[in-house]
């Protein structure tokens, strides 16, 4: 069952996927405190671990074209079990959206504009998401992708060029001397939180219009997202070295150090702009996916009616989680990674396995 008539091409899917991954750049602070020097290694390991999962998500969507997450669960698990599972997923998405709205707001408050409360930032992000989904729909979400990706990649390259005098290659050495527990923790966080988010695409893939280029562009998008991560890791480690472990926002600190011709250029203003755009895009995608999932679960005809209540719900959740910021951050680092692992990687594995068995039974059962 499809909720809207909008379609977008697979080229836009590329930027959507990349945008979803790039939105986690600011959250990469968690992993820098574990592995300040070997972030790139953790990224490469996660990339290779994650690729089969990405293929699995794609195959699952291709097997049930036209069905989003709720529909797939219905078909694989039957009526009641599928609905319960989809309900659990909806709860997960709501909480995940709330956390994702909270992160950039808190980040901005701490690093840039100290006096403004977190609520103000979160309010405007939520309001923009509301506007984008009611006035636009999936087409708007897809079309914003290219702006986001261009902004992020351009700003990262700009910073690379400006920070070359400050990058010291000895910061990367020694290469493989990293406590394995910390490396595992970083890999865990990266795979389940940053890359696992791609599972939400199962609600968006039904709206892609040309399916023949789908696979190519999907993987190209993942590569673009990972490339941005690697660039960030390279920049932060190169400039800050071991010091990256003490900062709550290593990337911001790196940008503060830009010096053009011995003048402190102080262009972190620009960085803040791109950061907000990126974070907003990820929040928008999650918001849209939450909206679509809940609407399909409740079997409503259109999701636009539900957008306003959902935005109020998420906004109040943001206010609640903001009451205890450090606990949320700690949760994001530790417990939420496990929840994401289960929800975004293990259960889809089970789902595809069950669906494979079903098709096998159907073939042999006849």
């Amino acid at each position: 069952m499809q909720l809207e008539k909008g379609r977008f091409s697979s080229l836009e899917l590329l930027f959507l996927v990349a945008g979803l991954m790039q939105g986690s750049i600011y959250v990469s602070t968690y992993t820098f405190s574990n592995t300040p020097r070997d972030e790139w290694l953790a990224l490469l390991i996660s990339w290779s671990i994650f690729l089969p999962f990405a293929l699995m998500y794609l195959k699952l969507s291709e097997k049930y074209p036209g069905d989003s997450l709720v529909g797939i669960h219905d078909k694989v698990y039957g009526g009641l079990a599928g609905k319960i599972l989809s309900a659990v997923y909806c709860m997960y998405f709501i909480i995940s959206s709330a956390m994702n709205f909270r992160f950039p707001s808190a980040f901005l408050t701490i690093n840039f504009m100290i006096a403004t409360p977190v609520i103000a930032f979160a309010f405007f992000l939520v309001a923009l998401c509301l506007f984008a989904t009611t006035a636009g729909g999936v087409e708007t979400v897809a079309r914003l992708g290219i702006f986001n990706s261009v902004a992020v990649v351009a700003s990262l390259l700009l910073y690379l060029v400006l920070l070359i005098p400050k990058i010291e290659l000895p910061h990367f050495f020694p290469i493989l001397d990293v406590p394995p527990k910390k490396l595992l923790h970083s890999v865990h966080i990266i795979t389940s939180e940053y890359m696992g988010e791609l599972f939400v695409l199962s609600s968006i893939l039904p709206y892609v219009s040309d399916r023949n280029l789908l696979r190519k562009n999907y993987f190209r998008g993942i590569s673009l997202g990972n490339f941005s991560f690697l660039l960030v890791a390279f920049l932060v480690t190169g400039v800050l070295g071991n010091e990256a472990a003490i900062f709550t926002g290593p990337l911001v600190e790196t940008t503060r150090l830009v010096e053009v011709m011995n003048i402190n250029a102080r262009i972190e203003f620009v960085f803040m702009g791109f950061l907000i755009i990126t974070a907003f895009y990820k929040c928008l995608i999650l918001f849209y996916v939450t909206l679509v999932s809940i609407t399909e679960l409740l079997a409503l005809r259109s999701y636009k009616l539900f957008a306003l209540p959902l935005s109020l719900l998420i906004f109040s959740l943001v206010m609640l989680t903001n009451e205890n910021g450090p606990a949320t951050a700690a949760a994001g680092r530790n417990s939420w990674a496990f929840v994401s692992l289960i929800m975004l990687m293990i259960i889809p594995l089970v789902t595809s396995f069950v669906s494979l068995m079903k098709t096998a039974f159907r073939k042999t059962g006849r």
């Binding site: 008539k5 091409s9 930027f15 504009m113």
Partner: protein, 559 residues
């Protein structure tokens, strides 16, 4: 509140509510003729408010008595002094009586005298009255009326509309059909250089207020017989002639059908300018940005038609509408294509940058000064702080005042008569700026920023109106939330832009739904020899516009 509005509407229209079809993303996305307006089309016609000429039954034909017809026409036109009724006798032994009705000032008197009255009076002696020979009307039409266009009409309403447009009606006593002779001619401005689109290189002809002149200008640009003009009349009292121009076989059918449907659904009294039509057929009536382009130059209109768009020419205004209109077109000028592509691409970037400056410069200045003073280099910061010392208003108010003053100056500069205008606008800007700084009301940096904003706003003229509004919105958000506010505004603008469609084509093509083939003309301009296909986002029927290997070069010509 809604109830009150409903009540007022009912009072005005006497219980007959008309539904207009809504063009939003959902209906535009399909653009098939079966959706939307079909049910309403019939409804529109039957629920139309009664016509102003309540006295005339529209379907009543003219009678074959000349006097009755004259009486009726005199009654319809009231006592207007410029409607001329001319009777004369012609035919064999001057037995036939005929009459001309025309409006002085709208007709070419030479044609009437030389080609209608003269042959009727002098050369018609072989004609007999209808009771004797039946071929009289044909011979009148085919042998005597030496005029280019002659039609036959038998409905009074249509005769009235023809007379109002400048045709001459020739009534013959005894025939129940009238001849409508095209004799339109009136004073007009002629072909002059357009005031709003000034170019350095390129033709300087501009459209004029007369529909026929405009169509002739287009015909001279595109001599192919595929160039089709479809006429229609819109506006019940103004009865404005409107004409859709397109290239058959290039412009896609769905665009044309949708355009026709929307134009036919317009139900209004007056169409005085193409802007009325533009605002009545928009896809997104609440958007800030224009979705229908206009131009005053025939070469621009011809280029757009050749790419697969349709043009709407409206009588009475030199501004021709082009649909569909994309955001990227505001940054393209005709000169871009006549210049070489390196400089043209550079100018495109300058225009984008100028648009960015004109919308965001005041708010960036404000946000950086008040929310992020660490961004400013230290020496500049001290100069700024020193210049703000002792000023009565906070920067927010200062800047806002200067923005308002700039808008006032701009509007005044447009309306002033020519000899005075230049001097006053320059004097106004300089003197007001300098005096305000010297008097200690504003700081000089504010004046500089406003001046830059003002100059940049004239770089991209077609977005000047939306740019001005966006500037204010961005300013308020920047004042409230600093850098974050500016980014929120940018995002809001981007989201609005991506939800707008222009006759079904997404507004930000080729960038937002990324169409790789069309990027040749979006941010930079590829050379002419590279642009072999028409823009894919317009979905033209004939995709190729030039041959493959068009790159020039000495070595090639040797082959």
């Amino acid at each position: 509140m809604n109830f009150i509005l409903k009540l007022l509407y009912n009072i005005k229209y006497g219980g007959q509510r008309k539904k207009k079809p809504r063009y939003n993303a959902e209906t535009s996305a399909e653009l098939s003729p079966d959706t939307g307006g079909k049910a309403q089309k019939g409804g529109a016609e039957s629920n139309r408010p009664p016509e102003p000429e309540a006295a005339v039954d529209p379907s009543l034909a003219i009678s074959d008595k000349l006097d009755t017809n004259f009486e009726k026409l005199k009654e319809i036109f009231g006592g207007s002094g410029d409607v001329v009724f001319r009777e004369f006798y012609f035919g064999k032994e001057k037995t036939l009586r005929g009459g001309l009705v025309f409006i002085d000032g709208l007709v070419d008197k030479t044609i009437i005298n030389q080609s209608i009255i003269k042959p009727m009076m002098y050369d018609s002696s072989y004609l007999c009255s209808e009771s004797e020979c039946e071929k009289t009307p044909e011979s009148i039409e085919s042998s005597l009326l030496s005029v280019g266009e002659v039609q036959r009409e038998c409905e009074t309403a249509k005769l009235v509309s023809h007379i109002s447009s400048g045709d001459t009606v020739f009534l013959v006593d005894g025939f129940n059909k009238a001849f409508v002779i095209s004799t339109r001619k009136w004073e007009n401005r002629g072909i002059q250089e357009p005031q709003t689109e000034i170019v350095v290189r390129g033709p300087r002809e501009g459209f004029s207020e007369s529909l026929r002149i405009n169509t002739s200008l287009l015909r001279r640009k595109i001599k192919s017989p595929d160039l089709t003009f479809e006429s229609m009349v819109i506006g019940q009292r103004t009865k404005t002639d409107v004409c859709i121009a397109y290239l058959k076989g290039v412009t896609p059918q769905h665009v044309l059908e949708e355009l026709r449907r929307r134009l036919k659904a317009i139900d209004t009294d007056s169409i005085l300018e193409s802007g009325y039509i533009e605002q009545l057929i928009e896809d997104n009536p609440f958007s800030l940005f224009p979705v229908i382009g206009n131009t005053e130059k025939p070469d621009v209109a011809a280029a757009k038609i050749l790419e697969g768009r349709a043009a709407v020419i409206v009588d009475g205004t030199p501004f021709v509408l082009t649909v569909p209109y994309l955001f990227i077109e505001s940054f393209q000028t005709s000169e871009d294509y006549y210049m070489r592509y390196w400089f043209a691409s550079f100018l495109r970037f300058i225009r984008f940058f100028a648009f960015f400056i004109t919308v965001f410069a005041p708010s960036i200045y404000l946000a950086v000064l008040t929310y992020h003073p660490e961004m400013i280099p230290t020496p500049l910061l001290f100069t700024l702080a020193a210049s703000e010392e002792g000023l009565p208003f906070p920067i927010f108010i200062e800047m806002f005042l200067m923005l308002i003053v700039f808008e006032i100056l701009r509007e005044a500069g447009v309306r002033l008569p020519r000899p005075v205008g230049q001097a006053v606008s320059i004097v106004g800007a300089l003197v007001i700026g300098q005096a305000a700084v010297a008097a200690g009301i504003v700081s000089d940096f504010t004046v500089i920023v406003i001046a830059i904003t003002a100059i940049s706003s004239f770089c991209v003229t077609s977005q000047a109106d939306s740019g001005a509004l966006l500037r204010f919105i961005c300013y308020f958000f920047g004042a409230a939330l600093g850098g974050f506010g500016i980014v929120v505004t940018i995002l809001w603008i981007l989201i609005s832009l991506t939800t707008i469609r222009s006759l079904g084509v997404p507004y930000l093509s080729p960038i937002a739904p990324l169409v790789m083939e069309d990027l040749k003309d979006a941010l930079i301009r590829f050379p002419h020899w590279k642009m072999t296909n028409r823009p894919k986002s317009l979905d033209p029927e004939d995709v190729r516009r030039q041959g493959d290997d068009q790159m020039p070069g000495a070595y090639r010509n040797e082959q």
